[in-house]
């Protein structure tokens, strides 16, 4: 092949060093208003994060300590942004978190909001949430785990990876368990690719503590531990009212008080799952309401009939059956 008499870019055998101001640099970051922000108000206005914080406050009942921590984290991110703009800080802070709390205390719900907050503040690029459990990360045979874990990590990049019941990754009773391999890959990504994704580990408090004690490497990479308290009966009642309102139902005369009694009994019983139990109880009440209305074939059903839950729909629950100690089922 003869040497050409003209040159085409890139054809020279010795490639000159790349121009730092070249096209790549231009694509990487166009200077935007966020980079120029010098005050908290400017960052807040630019990121629109206050809207998400306000929604969180409004939509979720209770959870005061969690909401406070989220505000603190948002404040930290805003100030870090300002520091970065002035060149005081180069490295992004670690944002990996653990959410501990009993079932149905809102961990998954808050994780979704967290992803949105991190996205608005520019900490993650896309802001989606990928929720997984052990089965999505750990394989069945040798050589199966690493590709599986990496696959999930790739999907989560640019957003938040939410690992529910994270302690199942670690099975000390089986020393050849593949979970350890998944943990090691996670550790590496959590350390080296902070810009690419945020990991949230979730689970019950005591089991998470044991898990962290046996995996100090994981625990030391987690910057924020958020504990989700159980809801009080009054909070559960409020959650119930909201869930009903969302679906265009309401408590009829006396039903509110009956539901309060129901909650007082239900929280004493095993398998109580906070807000999720409320949701399930309401679903069963809707079922009974439907059967009740269904029985009256010829009656013309108005708006009120179709939206109202009566005391009878609640009283039929097993929780009210005398001497019952088991799980409440229809």
């Amino acid at each position: 092949m003869s040497t050409p008499r003209y040159s085409i870019p890139g054809s020279a055998p010795s490639v000159p060093p790349r121009d730092p101001e070249g096209p790549g640099a231009a694509i990487a970051q166009a200077p935007d208003a966020m980079e120029r922000a010098r005050s908290v108000a400017a960052v807040l206005a630019e990121s629109q994060v206050e809207q998400v914080l306000a929604d969180l406050d409004r939509d979720l009942v209770g959870l005061a300590p969690v909401k406070q921590r989220i505000r603190d984290i948002a404040a930290l991110l805003v100030i870090d942004k300002l520091r970065m703009n002035l060149g005081l800080q180069a490295e992004t802070p670690s944002m990996h978190m653990s959410f501990t709390g009993n079932p149905g205390t809102g961990k998954t719900t808050v994780a979704l909001r967290m992803a949105e907050i991190l996205h608005r503040l520019g900490y993650v690029r896309k802001g989606h949430l990928v929720a997984v459990t052990r089965d999505d990360l750990v394989g069945q045979y040798i050589g199966h785990t690493a590709p599986k874990t990496k696959e999930v990590l790739k999907k989560a990049m640019g957003g938040v990876l939410f690992i529910d019941e994270a302690y199942y990754l670690y099975r000390p009773e089986n020393e050849r368990d593949y979970g350890q391999e998944a943990i090691e890959i996670l550790l590496q990504v959590m350390e080296n690719q902070r810009d690419d994704l945020v990991v949230i580990l979730a689970g019950y408090k005591d089991r998470m503590e044991t898990f962290f004690r046996s995996n100090p490497g994981l625990s030391s990479r987690i910057a924020h531990h958020l504990d989700f308290p159980d809801y009080s009966v009054d909070e559960l009642q409020q959650i119930a009212e909201r869930m009903l309102a969302q679906r265009h139902y309401r408590f009829g005369a006396g039903a509110r008080e009956i539901f309060h009694q129901y909650l007082e009994r239900r929280i004493q019983q095993p398998h109580f799952a906070n807000a999720r139990s409320v949701r399930n109880a309401l679903d069963r009440a809707r079922l009974r309401q439907a059967s009740r209305l269904f029985a009256e074939r010829d009656r013309e059903l108005g708006r009120d009939d179709l939206t109202t839950l009566l005391p009878a729909d609640l009283l039929a629950s097993r929780v009210f059956a005398e001497g019952s100690a088991g799980e409440a089922t229809p």
Partner: protein, 145 residues
């Protein structure tokens, strides 16, 4: 023309341009992801222009939201197949389209020796012409080292 003045094989998008930087590759991948394409990484050390089906490096990546995951796969492929051709391929799975929509080379061997013209004498005075890469005289995986 199969031999071209740059001495580099040219196929897919951008192959007459200087090599894309990683930032530029990332920007292309982002563009594809925004369009809903699934990216995959493919490699070969047989540069023949009719070599359409390159080897796949892992599965096509469906359901990704961010280029970081695709770039990680590319980095791994570069580590494993240093002196090979590597290309990024975007697949549009939309019903009725279901085909490759983007494809560009992101890694090349340090030197590309080009192609020789081969003549085969056939019946009568017929001549058949074909091209053969000088690199493929050597066995797979030893072609560009």
């Amino acid at each position: 023309m199969i031999t071209n003045p740059t001495g580099r094989i040219t196929q897919g998008q951008f192959s007459f341009l200087p090599d894309l930087t990683d930032d530029e590759i990332t920007a292309q991948i982002e563009y594809g992801l925004r369009k809903g394409y699934a990216w995959s990484v493919e490699y070969t050390d047989d540069p023949h222009p009719r070599n359409t089906y390159w080897d796949m490096f892992g599965m096509p990546m469906f359901d990704l939201r961010d280029a970081a995951g695709v770039m990680q796969e590319l980095r791994e492929c570069r580590k494993t197949f240093q002196g090979h051709y590597i290309r990024m391929v975007a697949f549009d799975s939309t019903r009725g389209i279901e085909s490759i929509t983007m494809s560009f080379i992101v890694n090349r061997p340090p030197t590309e020796p080009g192609f020789g013209l081969e003549r085969q004498e056939a019946e009568g005075r017929t001549l058949r012409y074909t091209v053969k890469s000088y690199a493929t005289d050597r066995p797979e995986n030893e072609r560009y080292s």
